[in-house]
Assembly symmetry: C2
Amino acid sequence: MPETFPTKPEVARPTMIDVARRAGVGLGTVSRVVNGGHGVRDETAQRVRAAIDELGFQRNEVARALRPGKKSTSLALVLGDLTNPFYATIAKSSLEVAGQSGFAVVLGSVDEDPEGEKRAIQELVSRQVAGLMIVPDQGDHAFLQGAGVPVVFVDRPATGIDADIVMVDNEGGGKLATDHLLAQGHERIAILLAPSYYTIGRRLRGFRRAHRAAGIDVDESLVIQLPEGNAEAAEKATREVMLRADPPTAIFASTNFLTEGVLRALGELGQEPAVVGFDDFRLADMLPTPVTVVASDIAELGRSAARLLLDRASGADTRPPQRIVLPCGLIERGSGERPPRSAGERNPR
Amino acid sequence: MPETFPTKPEVARPTMIDVARRAGVGLGTVSRVVNGGHGVRDETAQRVRAAIDELGFQRNEVARALRPGKKSTSLALVLGDLTNPFYATIAKSSLEVAGQSGFAVVLGSVDEDPEGEKRAIQELVSRQVAGLMIVPDQGDHAFLQGAGVPVVFVDRPATGIDADIVMVDNEGGGKLATDHLLAQGHERIAILLAPSYYTIGRRLRGFRRAHRAAGIDVDESLVIQLPEGNAEAAEKATREVMLRADPPTAIFASTNFLTEGVLRALGELGQEPAVVGFDDFRLADMLPTPVTVVASDIAELGRSAARLLLDRASGADTRPPQRIVLPCGLIERGSGERPPRSAGERNPR
DNA sequence: CTGTTAGCGCGTTCAA
DNA sequence: TTGAACGCGCTAACAG
């Protein structure tokens, strides 16, 4: 164990001036050496670099960001629950891209309410971030208009402002899932909807479009709007719908958490309608019946957002607001390939 | 849709001087109003507040952090793979605590190599964060000695520096899991070890201690050190060990990802030794055989770390480096309660 | 009570 | 090639 100093927090970090003094040169010279070192005699540069090493000097990024006109080298990321693998994946992948360009990522604290989101965003803006990546809540985002910072919305658009947006093909994914179930012969498909307005709405549109294309009417009593987006709500709703006189033969769960709740309920009921979920999740292939899902490359969602934002922040990209849509694919694992069974055939409780 | 301005990024945000001019007061007065507004006549304060609203002024946190002696209002968080729910939980919970105190959390880009971690940390330090929360990699962290920033290590200690540390009772957890298996009558228990040095080592110690206490020898061929910490490595190792002439009757998987790999292999082999995992994970209760795990309150890990760091940063806490250890509990779900079966009884492939 | 001023650490002029 | 001086936005210390 090396020598341990008893808590010595007040060791002021050396500044450029310290380095200049140490090397016996002027401030400007140090600055030039630090940023590329053009126009400095080799010998002088050597001395400066030596002083830097000896003092353990590190450029102060905060002061640097104060420089007239320039922005900081950090991006902000505002999203919901990091505990949701979906968001965690976005965080991770955007972080990677930002890091490669020397940018840090600041996470705002994200409460549930839209008011909290606005507060968090303004906090971040006041920290002079170079750009914002936002997975927006429902509230109006017009207040970002004059923020003077480029914004990229992730996963869903926001109202009140026209900015870049990176998302997945929700409607296409909804149609894909539904087509798949219809192709197995299902005609009574329930869809469970989380209370998010945009993405879920699109998935529902895909659901309806698939039915229309197949010439089958949607039973509106099977379009189930949940009060909350968690597994518990889905579990409860699944139990209810499966205990009806005429239960569905298939279920389309519109988010990963809902899928979990559906499976939990079905496990308890001992019933086995076909199930397709939206968004893949860890262990989906290891459940008693491996789960068929519609999925997209979430990591790419985060990477695209970060790349786009970095280009906007640097001024390299001045195109009008872009709209990047990533495709969805179907991953067949078993639960979505079950054939329809009539009510009489199903196992009793 | 509201009026949309075609990309107008060069709208300089208003400064305190702008507010001062607008309100017809001095700069200092504005500053006073912004920070609490003590010692300012009500009427003047009103005018200032009005000007602030009209201009949409927001305090520049960057400039604020430049103030002599003062630190910024952001903490840094350095950790591994956010895609691992374990890390994601730490991030979320520490973020919540920090946010409640008006602190933002900056995530450093985290590559795998220890060199990358050092770079990331120095990046963060150069951003003048008020404190660092680090889930350290193996490398030496002595370079943090003179950083002049409080540091809290999370989940495992680091070498080369004596700082606060918040972790779980790894050894106790290891013993708990092993005791449980021994209590079922298992005498040949395999343990799968991820290549992380500290936590895993402690869990192994608990494993050995439990054996010693029970008066049972550890078969060293069942102490399996994996080359990597992912599910694939665990899957491979499990397959190999279960196909031996004298396979174990129980397996202790030392991390959540390893547990996953173990179960995957067992599913393919059609064998059912008892299994206990370290750290709980989503869907553990929904697998074909619900998984028994040793778990601790990971969210509390993050919260404690953030709280401790905030107190250090504010100077409110000047105690010598603390060592907070959270307890582990056993969650019995089925896989860990299977009795031992002799090799002859196990199902053929 | 309120206005003014001096830095904080750095990059960028402008001279020398 | 190098040094000195100014300003970024803000707070604290000092006058008035």
